[in-house]
């Protein structure tokens, strides 16, 4: 049986579908009215006598204005409604579960915070908001799950984010939606939405690579980052404890928020945003660490929350936002 409508399996799916129904209703109304008018006029005013020249009908300004203003009003609803969904899609909730995605020609590489890694498959528990932080090793890809009605490009050189809460247990298509080369149509996979219990079992059953933060810590030591970035702030470079999510004062006078993108940039292009009061001493790690490795480092730095009374100044609110 050929399906004619996709399954709804995320929090966004019903919202997008309701908007679709509104648009369909408006479109069908207009189509019917226009088609009916054309058919009616074409028959009623068909040429009956040769050589007839009908009288010109004068333009009705009121009519013209009406058929500009009314459709415009209807479209503004489309805009507002669509924008509100989009706004929601752009703001993952704080309690979302973090999963990291790296796209490359032609596969999806996925890392869970607990350390599980998957290729072209993603297992998630039902009912929990999932936040994906994504990047690409080569060209632009796009992470598309039709059943969730979401899609976001995966762009080399930067992080992109998407989120959703799966609402229905099942197995759903994952497609790459941005043309990425020869085997673009082979860059597909499956999303497995599981009952929380099953998901826990899956987590426990897989081979353990150690958690993502642990891997990041190991990498941090292998690359000798700690020689300069000392935990107590005594090194030549700023401490990374409690850094994530905090505003950072730069040498240029600007302030940026230390999000995933900032940390990635600072590892790969350390000169781009130098912290105020520090020298641009750090070498670039471009080519020395993979995108997956960078994501592990990011997760490790995220996990560096200050211990109470350790001396680094962080407000309790910031600590709270760090707890997963």
């Amino acid at each position: 049986m050929t399906p004619l409508f996709p399954v709804q399996a995320s929090n966004f799916a019903p919202e997008v579908d309701h908007l679709l129904f509104y648009l369909l209703a408006v479109s069908v109304c207009f189509t019917v009215v226009i088609f009916a008018a054309i058919f009616f006029f074409a028959i009623r005013y068909r040429r009956k006598a040769p050589g007839e020249v009908p009288h010109a009908v004068h333009t009705g300004i009121a009519l013209e204005i009406a058929w500009m203003v009314i459709p415009f009003g209807l479209t503004m609803v489309m805009f507002g409604w669509g924008a509100s969904i989009f706004f929601k899609e752009s703001r993952p909730p704080d309690n979302a579960m973090n999963i990291y995605v790296v796209g490359k020609q032609w596969m999806w590489k996925i890392q869970h915070a607990e350390g599980q890694r998957e290729i072209n498959e993603l297992h998630v528990p039902v009912g929990r908001p999932i936040r994906l932080t994504m990047t690409s090793e080569d060209v632009i890809h796009s992470f598309f799950v039709p059943a969730f009605r979401t899609k976001e490009d995966v762009v080399p050189g930067r992080y992109s984010t998407t989120w959703w809460t799966p609402t229905k247990v099942g197995k759903y298509h994952l497609f790459c939606a941005e043309y990425c080369g020869t085997k673009h149509s082979g860059m597909t996979g499956w999303i497995y939405v599981m009952e929380p219990g099953d998901y826990q079992a899956w987590l426990n059953g897989g081979r353990s690579f150690g958690s993502l933060a642990e891997n990041g810590e190991k990498l941090f030591q292998d690359l000798a980052c700690g020689n300069c970035h000392k935990m107590d702030g005594s090194g030549r470079c700023p401490t990374l404890v409690g850094l994530f999510g905090r505003p950072v004062q730069l040498a240029t006078g600007q302030t940026v928020t230390a999000d995933e993108g900032y940390i990635r940039e600072s590892i790969l292009q350390p000169d781009a945003k130098v912290v105020a009061g520090y020298q641009p001493l750090m070498p670039t790690f471009q080519g020395l660490v993979t995108e997956e490795g960078v994501l592990q480092l990011v997760e490790y730095i995220k996990s560096l929350t200050p211990k109470p009374g350790s001396g680094t100044t962080t407000t309790p609110a910031e600590i709270n936002s760090e707890t997963h």
Partner: protein, 99 residues
Amino acid sequence: MPEHVDSVKTYAAVWAILLALTGITTAVAYVDLGAFSVVVALLIAVVKMLLVALFFMHVRHSTRLTKLVVTGGLLWLMILLAFTLADVWTRGLIGTPGR
């Protein structure tokens, strides 16, 4: 369009101002004006452009259509710049990487 012949004196004056402005823009680049240095540089460049267009290219004697074409072209350049910058400058502002 009646032919308008400007005097050599006018042209020479415009030319002298243009050369002076080139000197000024170079000199002022060595002065620390902070964020304003780019504003000043562009302002001087715009003045120079206007001088060349109005006098050397005779826009001030031209038809309204020519003036419309010139302003229209510059407006379109602004559209290209403004809307793209609207994206670049607001990236990540919502607090989510890549949004």
